[in-house]
Every structure is written in structure tokens, then in C-alpha cells.
Symmetry: C2
Subunit: 416 residues, 2 copies
């Protein structure tokens, strides 16, 4: 919320553009044209099941919509309605304290309220974080409205990590340790959990698999956020276990009230053949390893993958030279590309992209984390020949807000 | 095309953002994060029926997609395939001359090719200019794909013009003349043709109607772009003529090979009741006048309208003071707001918005004319902890492209 307050003060989200009149131009004069972005209108936000305090009610979706000047209706996630209510009450108090209009923030609860919310004629956009099935259903609903509306749904990502040879040679043990920690972090309930580990056949990669098997097998069971999530996790594990081409490497049998960390190994042919199971996110502390023959097959495997939130290279200097041509493939597949990091930390800042090609999100042109998230809820308006008195502040000649503007093709904060 | 070349040189479309590493930050260090925008992938462009030379093959859709780094497949409009071919050949020569890769620009022809084009898995976005029915069909198709893709369809707008009292008093005759010229300009085949004229009951407005009736009645028949357009125009006029609440004021009976300019008057109650006929664009040299009781009814009438490309006030100084509260209503309804101009001139520049709420377009967050059009085909990518050698030029510390970047929250062209 504070970061968006900074964005508002900075004013660059307004995208102010001014083309001044050219009354003498031949063959036709140019009128005075000025553009800024305004909010699209009321936004429906679907609370995520994860991060009940940080993202669900008052996260990037709500903060960016409010910052864009849109009122918000949040549908509380059924997994933590009391937490959602506490956060909503805090927002309500802030609305009152800062004299914002009533109704700028609203929260609704219950099963079956999502559909009428998305279909309500006043709602102009939707933000969603959750499952592929849920997100796609909302997209289809929004597209079928008499007036279709945009949906930004952050849905499903398996966040491939590529383990390159030199790095494995130099620090294979540490990598196995850090990777396992990332997989079980927050009981694996990060949207950016590493769900697929790719490496090239070699003694070092075999060693990594063996290290990971040992470490993952020793990881304790963890408590998930709610019963629904545990049920989905159990079902996901069953699908992996039952699959012919997938081998279980480590982890206690899944039962009881906690999630057991698991490690699987799959045949690369499954990925190349487009097997859906390997493309689907299993929300929880589990991951799948795949061994490829060589760089050519690695690139083939990447190309056969769906869109992702993140894609990571674990690489040392010679790896980066030798595998530089992997980067353009990763750019096509993911919204955030990491080198020598683990995707589970999502920094809230200007440069963050928490988005990516379908099915990671429903629209790769947005992000739900970071200041660019505001763009999802803005639309441009152009004022032609408007007198100073009727222009928005950001477009007045004197530039009273001191925002950066594109004036006749030059970026400047100067008055006109 | 030249304007987009300027945008590319300026580099602000890249939206470069850098948050440098904070290794000492507590409780967790911040990694180095850098963001730019890249093309979404191949774009399908549907040629418009109007502006065969200026917009259809090499207009804002094609130019902005190419500028974004996307390859383009244009579907030639069936109304002017030879013209489309000539323009395409010119583009092909330019592609060859500038050593761009083969296949960066492609054109296809024929009936029934649009659907497989939109459904082709490699196509990542669609640009369309045409009818509401055609645009909506493409949107529905794109939304139903296994991987849904964004569509920017510029479809239907009746571009309301409000005639305010003081302006009519001071210069009613000139207004009638200019308005009639705008209605018949280009045989009424502008997307921004004034299709609805609103005024408050008064002697001056009655005089305007009488002047307009005389001038429009004397306007000669004009040749339309093609037979299909003339057929649609004839059908549109029939619907207006047959409607009980609509009166024909001027214009010769529509027949033969040319379009006869026409003037109609409709009851405000039709608009308030949401009659669809008054919301639909009739592409050609015709317009509908509506008289309202007072300002309150004027605002009600505006609120009952669909989204528009433009909304215009013809107003003198006292009008602007008295009717200032109409502006926020217009902002909600249209992408471009004019005062004392006619919407039929669409300037190609940075500040232009040729877009607007549905059904003017399928997504109010874009524009098909002006440099902001490029944003429709860009998506952000974030690089985390990437070494200088693998970063795109725009994100390297030294800023070799000299682009404006948001570095740790400050806009600057400085190197890091």
C-alpha cells in the first residue's frame, strides 16, 4: 500500500502526454491533444488462498486497483474468512480516517457469490489468484458478458529450474540443500514454487538427484493453510504416483492432517509429448526432476512447456557463456527470469513481474505484484482543445503536480 | 510508420525499470531486478474496410505490432484486396531493403480464413477494425481458445456531440454548416462520424435543426468504398425509417449505387429506455438529432449511452462553466473528449486515443491510433540477478541506448 502511495506521488502511472496545437500546420492544423490514464471503474478482486495477510485482501490486486482510482469489491477466500474480515476492517478504518468516499472498498463472503459479482454490469475488471480451473472459469464468464471485461488471473506455474553442469560441479551439494529448502518453503504454497527441475545427464546431475532424494526424504511434514489445499495436494500426488512414466524418489506416504514433502522423477519424453500432468502445478512441498540428454534436448523440453511465472538458471560463468542461447527461449516462456536464485522470494518493487504467458496468467501483459500492477486497471483518455480550467491537474500547462510528461515527443517536467 | 520509428528511438515504450540489489537489507537482502517490455508474439491484423491506404494494411495495428517486435499476419479486407496487395508489396520491399527476417510481415486473402488465423496456436494477439458483430465474433473466438489471447477490436461508436446553448446563440449557423460537413466527410465512413446530436430544447436548437435539415437535404450523393458498405448503409437507414419513435428530416430516398446523406430526429425517451437502434453505428453520411428537456435530462441521456470513441461539446465560455459537471460523465463514456472540434479528424500522435469503453472497442485500455497503440502488443519481463552480458541493452548499467529508466524509484537517463 505504501509503495503504491509512492507511485501516486511520483505520477508516472498517469502517462501524461501532450501534443500542443499547431494552428499553422499545412495541409491541416493540429488541435491541442492531451492524454492521461484514469481508472477503468469498479474492480472485483478474488482473494487468494495463500498469503492471507499479505496478498489476499489487501495485496497487489486491491492496492493497485485503489491506486488506479477504482473502487474494489473483494470476495473473501473461503479458506480464511475471519482473517479476511480483520484485514477488511483495517482497510475500512483507513478509508474513514482518510475521508475517502464510502463504498470505495467492499468485501463479500460465501459460496456462489463470485459468479454474480463478475457478471454485475458495474464491475469493469477482475483480479484473481488461484487455480487454473477457477481462473479460467472467471475468464470465460467475463468474456461472455454483454460487455466483456478484462480479467487478470494468476493461475498455474511450475517454475522450471535449469541446473547447468559447471554450477553442479562447483557447488552441487549446496544447490541440493537450497533447492530443497525452496521447494518446502511455506509448505510449498508459493505461486513460484520450483515444480520442475531440469538437468543434463552427467555424474554431477546423478549426484544432485541422490542428494535431493536424501534431503527431501528427511524433510518433516508441514501444516497446510486449510483442508481444501491439503485435499488438492493429496490428489495431485496420487496422479503423479499413478503415472507410468513417473517414479517416486522420496517422501513418506501422504496421510493425516499434514503435507508430506515429496520428490518425483519423470521421463523427459513425457514433457516432449506434452503430457498435461507435467504442466500442472501441484500446490505444496513437492517437485519433479527431469534428466535430458544434452543442450538440444533441454531447449526442446523448454519449448514444449506452457507459460510460466518464473524460469531459473543455476549457472556458473562458463555455463552462462555456453547456454546463452537458452535465454531467448526462457524470455518467451516466463514473466521473471532468475539466475542463481530461487523463485520463491517475490520482491514487491517497481521492476517485479509476477505474471507470464498462459496459463501462468490469463494475460501476459500484466503483473499482480509490483507497481506495474496498476496498469491493469487504467485506461487512456484524450482531451482535445480543452480549456485549462477543465483539464485534469496533470495536463495543465503549469504542471502543478510536477509530473514527468511527454510533451511534443520530449520527456520533461517543465511547464509549457 | 515514421512516428513509430521515433518511438523506438526514444525507447520509452520499453518501460525500463531497475531496482538494484540491496545485499545488506534486513531481514532479507533484495536481489537485482530489472524489467523491460518485449513483444507478445505474432499478431493477426484484420484490415479495415475504410482507409484502404492509410489504416487497413499498414495502419496503426500493423505499425504498432511491428514496432513492438511482433511479426504480423494481415487479413486483407475483401472490399479492396488489390489495394491491400499493393501496400503489402511495398512493406515486403521495405522488409527486404532493411534486412529484416523473412516472414516478419505476411498477408492472407479470402473468405473464411479469419477464423483459422485467430485460432492458430502461434498467434498471440489480434487487432481488428470493423463492425460490432465481426469484432465480437473474433473476441469470442479468441477467448475460447485453449490459450485465450487478447483482442483489440475497434468496433462501434456513434460519437455523441452536445450542442450547448450559448454556442448555438452565438454561432448557430456556422455550427450547422460545420456539423453537416463532418457528417458527410469521407462519405461518413469515419469511425468517429458524429452519429448523435444532443441539444436542449430552445429556440436556438430548433433553429439548428431547421438549418441542418436544409443543409443535409442539399448534400449530394456520394460513392461509398464498396458494395458491402453501401448495403449495410441502406439496411441501417431502413431500420431508422421504420422505427416509430424516429422521424426522417432530410435526404433523398436511398437507392442506386451511391449513398444519400440523411438526417433523422429521435425521441429522447428511446435513448433513456436503452433502445439498441440508437446505440448502433450506421456507417455512412447520416446522423440522428435528439432534443432533451434540460441539463438533468442531458446527463441522464449520456449515462444511458454505451461506450464511445469520442464525445464532443460545442460550447462557449459560459457553457463551459455551467456544464462543467458533464465532463466527468463524458470521461466515463469515451476515449477522446473534444471541445469545439469535430471528431472526424484523428491525429496520429503521442496523445491520441482512438479507443474507448465497449462497444467502441473490446478493451478500453488500448488505442489503435497514436504511439500508445504499441502497448497492446507488449508484455513485461523481469530479469533477476542477470549478469551484464546477458541483459538486454536497455537494462545494462551503462545505459548504452540512453533511454529514460526508473532506477530505484527515480526517472533518469544516468548510467548506474
Amino acid at each position: 500500500m505504501r509503495l503504491f502511495a509512492k507511485v501516486l506521488r511520483r505520477g508516472d502511472f498517469l502517462g501524461a502526454r501532450i501534443d500542443t496545437a499547431l494552428p499553422e500546420r499545412q495541409p491541416l492544423p493540429r488541435p491541442d491533444l492531451r492524454q492521461i490514464k484514469i481508472g477503468v471503474g469498479p474492480v472485483a478482486v478474488f482473494g487468494a488462498s495463500n498469503f492471507p495477510l499479505a496478498f489476499s485482501t489487501a495485496g497487489g490486486d486491491t492496492a493497485s486497483a485503489l491506486a488506479a482510482g477504482c473502487s474494489v469489491v473483494v470476495k473473501a477466500h473461503s479458506g480464511h474468512m475471519a482473517t479476511a474480515d480483520f484485514v477488511a476492517q483495517a482497510i475500512e478504518r483507513a478509508v474513514e480516517k482518510s475521508n475517502m468516499p464510502n463504498g470505495v472498498f467492499n468485501m463479500i463472503y460465501g459460496n456462489g457469490v463470485g459468479e454474480p459479482l463478475v457478471k454485475h454490469p458495474l464491475i469493469q475488471a477482475v483480479g484473481f489468484t488461484g487455480s487454473l480451473r477457477g481462473g479460467r472459469a472467471l475468464c470465460d464468464m467475463a468474456a461472455a458478458r454483454p460487455q466483456p471485461i478484462p480479467v487478470f488471473a494468476e493461475m498455474s506455474s511450475i517454475n522450471p529450474m535449469l541446473m547447468l553442469p559447471e554450477a553442479l560441479k562447483n557447488r552441487g551439494e549446496k544447490i541440493a540443500q537450497d533447492l530443497a529448502d525452496s521447494v518446502v518453503l511455506g509448505c510449498g504454497q508459493f505461486c513460484t514454487n520450483p515444480g520442475l527441475i531440469l538437468g543434463i545427464k552427467s555424474a554431477e546431475f546423478t549426484q544432485l538427484i541422490s542428494n535431493l532424494t536424501e534431503i527431501m526424504g528427511a524433510k518433516p511434514a508441514q501444516t497446510m493453510l486449510n483442508a481444501g489445499t491439503l485435499k488438492s495436494y493429496t490428489a495431485g500426488l496420487e496422479h503423479l504416483t499413478e503415472h507410468q512414466g513417473i517414479k517416486h524418489l522420496a517422501g513418506n506416504t501422504q496421510k493425516g492432517n499434514q503435507a508430506q514433502p515429496q520428490l518425483f522423477k519423470a521421463d523427459v519424453e513425457l514433457l516432449l509429448a506434452g503430457d498435461q500432468l507435467l504442466q500442472e502445478e501441484i500446490f505444496g512441498p513437492t517437485t519433479v526432476i527431469i534428466e535430458v540428454e544434452d543442450k538440444a534436448q533441454l531447449i526442446q523440453a523448454l519449448q514444449s512447456m506452457n507459460g510460466q511465472l518464473t524460469a531459473t538458471l543455476i549457472a556458473d560463468e562458463t555455463d552462462l557463456t555456453e547456454f546463452a542461447d537458452v535465454v531467448p527461449v526462457l524470455e518467451e516462456k516466463a514473466g521473471r527470469l532468475l539466475i542463481n536464485g530461487y523463485p520463491t522470494g517475490v520482491e514487491v518493487c517497481d521492476a517485479m513481474v509476477h505474471g507470464g504467458p498462459y496459463p501462468a496468467t490469463s494475460d501476459a501483459r500484466g503483473t499482480s505484484v509490483g507497481t506495474l500492477a496498476i496498469d491493469r486497471y487504467l485506461r487512456p483518455v484524450c482531451y482535445q482543445n480543452y480549456p485549462q480550467s477543465l483539464l485534469p491537474e496533470a495536463l495543465k500547462d503549469s504542471n502543478p503536480l510536477q509530473v514527468l510528461r511527454l510533451v511534443n515527443g520530449e520527456m520533461t517536467k517543465e511547464a509549457i
